[in-house]
């Protein structure tokens, strides 16, 4: 959108240069922390323990990764996270669509009452303890379903889908109904095929939130075999509990052929984060769209 006619003034040119430099530095601060940790994860203990800018590991080694990938807990976490992400996202999408479609119909009896009942839950909740006690009463403590059921439908996402359904032309649905199709058939054979973009978008939202979720697993699950990647990461990196590390101990005296806990932590962070970093350049545009759609009247 270059609108300026003729030559740029000196002030404008210097502003352009300044702007590029500032934003370049800003972009660097956004990614540097990741590069720093990536660099440590490949370093030898001697190199990791030095001060300074860490862009490329000076003495690269895969020892940290070897140790992390040999830890069975990491694989348990991966399996559980992948399982909850796939099963959870599938159920999230199915129920969000099932909830949004009836509410998108203006002729649905008591539509506003149902919508209000759902929207209200966005702004008021029982809170931590009452919810915890309910999970206990429902027998969901230490049950994998607790990672999926409590967040089955996000009201915000459901409203976005409902608004999308409302924007679809009604004629096709009506003609199918005149031909004798019921609402379920209309939804599955006409509306859903027309809604693939929005369904892909909400599936990605749900999937990323499942991948990143940690608090539900921390709060409701205690069996180590049911832990998700984020809780294992938390145990190793933040709490630093040794029972979860299960790694060869680091001998600071001999300092040979060993890794420090910090290298293990860095490698663990990377192992848990690389999947997201790899896919996010391709999926971010779906999220950007969501921010813009969500900011319009919901």
């Amino acid at each position: 959108m270059s609108l300026s006619i003729g030559k740029k003034s000196f002030g404008e040119k210097s502003f352009d240069v300044f702007n590029v430099v500032i934003l370049g530095l800003f972009a660097l601060t956004a990614v540097y922390p990741f590069i720093h940790v990536l660099s440590i994860s490949f370093s030898t203990p001697a190199a990791a323990n030095t001060y300074g800018l860490k862009l490329i590991p000076k003495e690269a080694t895969l020892e940290g990764y070897r140790q992390v990938l040999n830890n069975p807990l990491i694989w348990t976490g991966y399996a559980n996270t992948i399982a909850r992400t796939i099963a959870g996202t599938f159920l999230n999408v199915v129920f969000s669509v099932l909830c949004a479609y009836p509410l998108s119909k203006k002729y649905l009896p008591n539509r506003n009452v149902y919508t209000l009942l759902i929207v209200f839950t966005m702004f008021f909740s029982g809170g931590l303890i009452p919810t915890y006690l309910l999970m206990k009463d429902l027998g969901l403590l230490d049950n994998r379903l607790v990672l999926i059921l409590p967040g089955l439908i996000s009201p915000f996402t459901m409203i976005i889908v409902r608004n999308f359904f409302m924007s679809l032309p009604e004629e096709i649905e009506e003609s199918a109904k005149i031909d004798g199709a019921n609402d379920l058939r209309v939804l599955f054979s006409i509306v859903i095929p027309m809604s693939k973009p929005i369904i892909a978008t909400i599936a990605l939202w749900y999937a990323v939130s499942h991948w990143n979720a940690w608090f539900d697993a921390l709060l409701y699950l205690s069996d180590p075999n049911k832990m998700v990647l984020q809780t294992i990461l938390r145990k190793i990196v933040i709490e630093g509990s040794s029972q979860f590390q299960n790694f060869d101990t680091y001998d600071p005296v001999s300092n040979t052929n060993a890794v420090t806990p910090d290298i293990i932590k860095a490698a663990t962070i990377m192992v848990a984060t690389i999947p997201i970093i790899c896919v996010y350049p391709f999926i971010q545009k779906y999220f950007v769209k969501g921010v813009i759609v969500g900011s319009l009247k919901g």
Binding site: S4, G11, E12, L108, F124, L233, S295
Partner: protein, 317 residues
């Protein structure tokens, strides 16, 4: 006459009920979809609200929610009379204010700078990189920041000591913990927060700029007289929302960042509620604390929505 009228009213009532049944039957497939979803909201969102009565009870494990004795407002008295709850309330408000002061203008400035870029590829790269932190959990980011702010290896302390200062243990120093929280939060959210302003900027009518160029306006003047005034509505709304969320602290961030050494400055309402509820199992107190936060947040949301609706017919519902 009297009986006739009441019979008439009865028929009306019955026929209205029949109509109601009929309309539900007519849309039975829609309700077949909707009701399982409503059951979900009832069980997982409305049933816990019943548990809020615990705020006025003393929870006993053997008696359950129903059987535990009523204690009136004792839990609230204990909360406000104690030391930790008022401290958590104060910390929440202080941290929210800092995040408002530093975190609110940051995405606006970023969006304005990005908007002035003429190199489109560079703009896209900067935007994409700035969104990255939004996609990662605070667990991952805490691990990364512990490295970045490490007193012995971190880059921040490296710069500090190169400049002649002494290394700071950011995660354990009461004087620096809030700075750490606010700066990392701004770092995480600035790129993502700029999206909404960039969208508003791209909606500005380009003919305005063309006319300004014809009139000989410099880019600075275009920004001052066209770009900034066009942002006023969206900035106003975002500001009202930001103020409306002042009671909401960032549990995910603080819970992962904090430790007993910095409770004094970093313990907030949500982390306090978690500790007394889950760690110390003071269910009555924790429920009262949660109810207090929720009620204030709810009132703030109502005020926020009222204000934004008044401003330009824009509301969340």
């Amino acid at each position: 006459m009297q009986t006739q009228a009441s019979v008439g009213r009865d028929t009306v009532k019955r026929s209205r009920f029949a109509l109601w049944i009929k309309s539900y039957w007519k849309h039975r497939y829609l309700f077949l979809m909707l009701w399982p979803c409503m059951l979900y909201f009832f069980v997982f969102k409305y049933l816990p609200m019943y548990g809020l009565v615990l705020a006025f009870k003393e929870y006993r494990f053997l008696d359950g929610i129903m059987g535990s004795p009523w204690v009136g407002l004792d839990n609230f008295r204990d909360l406000f009379g104690g030391r930790e709850f008022p401290r958590a309330l104060r910390n929440t408000l202080i941290l929210s204010s800092y995040k408002l002061i530093f975190g609110f203008p940051a995405p606006i400035v970023l969006a304005l700078l990005l908007n002035e870029l003429r190199l489109m590829l560079f703009k896209r790269v900067v935007q994409t990189l700035s969104y990255l932190p939004h996609f990662l959990s605070w667990v991952v980011l805490t691990g990364i920041f512990m490295e970045i702010f490490s007193p012995t290896r971190g880059i921040i302390n490296y710069i500090i000591s190169e400049l002649g200062g002494t290394p700071i243990f950011f995660f354990g120093d009461k004087n620096w913990f809030r700075t750490l929280l606010v700066s990392t939060e701004v770092w995480k959210s600035v790129g993502w927060g700029s999206i909404i302003y960039l969208a508003a900027l791209s909606n500005i009518d380009p003919t305005l700029y063309e006319a300004a160029v014809v009139d000989g306006a410099s880019r600075w003047r275009q920004m001052w007289h066209i770009t900034l005034p066009s942002l006023v509505p969206v900035v106003t709304i975002m500001f009202i929302f930001a103020v409306g969320g002042i009671i909401n602290d960032d549990f995910d961030q603080i819970f992962n960042f904090y430790n007993p050494a910095v409770y004094e400055v970093g313990d907030v309402l949500s982390t306090y509620t978690y500790r007394i509820g889950i760690t110390e199992m003071e269910y009555g107190l924790a429920t009262a604390s949660g109810l207090f936060i929720n009620s204030i947040a709810f009132v703030l949301i109502l005020i926020t929505n009222f204000l934004t609706k008044r401003l330009n017919n824009y509301g969340i519902w």
